[in-house]
């Protein structure tokens, strides 16, 4: 399960922000444009999402806080997910797994699993067959709920094969 997410410099989250989740259902609410979908995208991004379209970006740099009328831009976006692994669902010898992703304006990226540097590929491999990988059924973006109905029969099949 997801214990908490720490977001800093990612999209509209200029300052370091922590969100702790309930084991059952956590609701995220707020006005239009407040940053709710940005939280969902931060989680996706930390899980290794690379498609700029899915993150509503034109370029990779768009995920870094670009400043507002009250605040300066920042140079880096960082998101950390803290997962509970006491049931050893993930094949790693830790009770808790922290996945961290950083991106700098220079275009450089850094990835960590429990503070050890790793490659994006390692994060992808950790998530294979969990429903949280790419095309996973476990993350539904805004406006995407009925997308599965419009896909081709072949696409529907591979969507279900990911779950099988």
């Amino acid at each position: 399960m997801l214990k908490k997410v720490v977001i800093q410099g990612f999209k509209s989250f200029a300052e370091k922000t922590e969100i702790t989740f309930e084991p059952s259902i956590t609701g995220i609410v707020g006005p239009n444009g407040s940053g709710k979908s940005n939280v969902a995208e931060a989680i996706r991004w930390a899980l290794g999402e690379t498609k700029t379209k899915i993150l509503r970006s034109e370029r990779q740099q768009d995920v870094i806080f670009t400043g507002s009328q009250g605040k300066k831009p920042v140079g880096m976006a960082e998101v950390t997910l803290i997962l509970d692994n006491s049931n050893k669902y993930f094949p790693l010898p830790y009770d808790e797994i922290a996945i961290t992703r950083r991106f700098f304006r220079s275009g450089e990226s850094e990835f960590y699993i429990n503070k050890s540097p790793c490659r994006l590929k390692d994060i992808h491999e950790l998530l294979v067959d969990t429903g949280l990988g790419k095309h996973g059924y476990a993350i539904i973006g805004q406006g995407q709920v009925d997308e599965i109905l419009f896909s081709s029969p072949e696409e529907k099949r591979s969507y279900l094969e990911e779950a099988a």
Binding site: K11, A14, T17, V29, G30, Q69, Q142, V145, S152, P153
Partner: protein
């Protein structure tokens, strides 16, 4: 490999039909194997809404499509829970009565799955164990935890 998928499909088919009946108060739904373009294996979603005839998914209304997708999604969660899921406004197209059915079923899903739900709908907020409020100040997002009583009362 193919056999394992076939077994999964059989189970999913039954689950999808059960959840569909629960959310729509009747009707039926199934997943059928088809051969697509270039002899490729594919899956088709077939639904029949209560009182109506089976129709191509494209003719369904916005709310009916959303609820059909939700039925398939919940069927998947029932058979194969993921470590957690993130759902961003999947209830947007539902009318008030359907939000009630959706949230009632979501509460059951929450017993075996961890759910992070972004929503504007009161009915959905009421089945959350905790509400996190996001607000924008000086162009920067801030977080505050909201007591559930606020929502239940007001």
């Amino acid at each position: 490999m193919e056999q394992r998928f076939d077994e999964f499909l059989k189970l999913l088919n039954e689950e999808f039909d059960l959840v569909f009946k629960d959310l729509f108060g009747g009707g039926r739904a199934s997943l059928e194997k088809v051969v697509g373009g270039e002899q490729k294996e594919g899956i088709e979603i077939i639904v029949e809404l209560p009182g109506k005839k089976r129709q191509s998914l494209g003719l369904l209304s916005g709310g009916e499509r959303a609820l059909t997708s939700i039925a398939l999604l919940f069927a998947l969660f029932n058979l194969k829970p993921s470590p957690f899921c993130v759902l961003d406004e999947i209830d947007a197209a539902l009318d008030e009565a359907n939000v009630q059915r959706f949230s009632a079923y979501l509460k059951k899903i929450g017993e075996r799955n961890q759910v992070v739900l972004i929503t504007h709908r009161r009915g959905s907020m009421e089945v959350c164990t905790k509400l996190i409020g996001i607000s924008m100040q000086d162009g920067c997002s801030k977080v505050l935890s909201l007591p559930m009583e606020n929502i239940k009362a007001g």
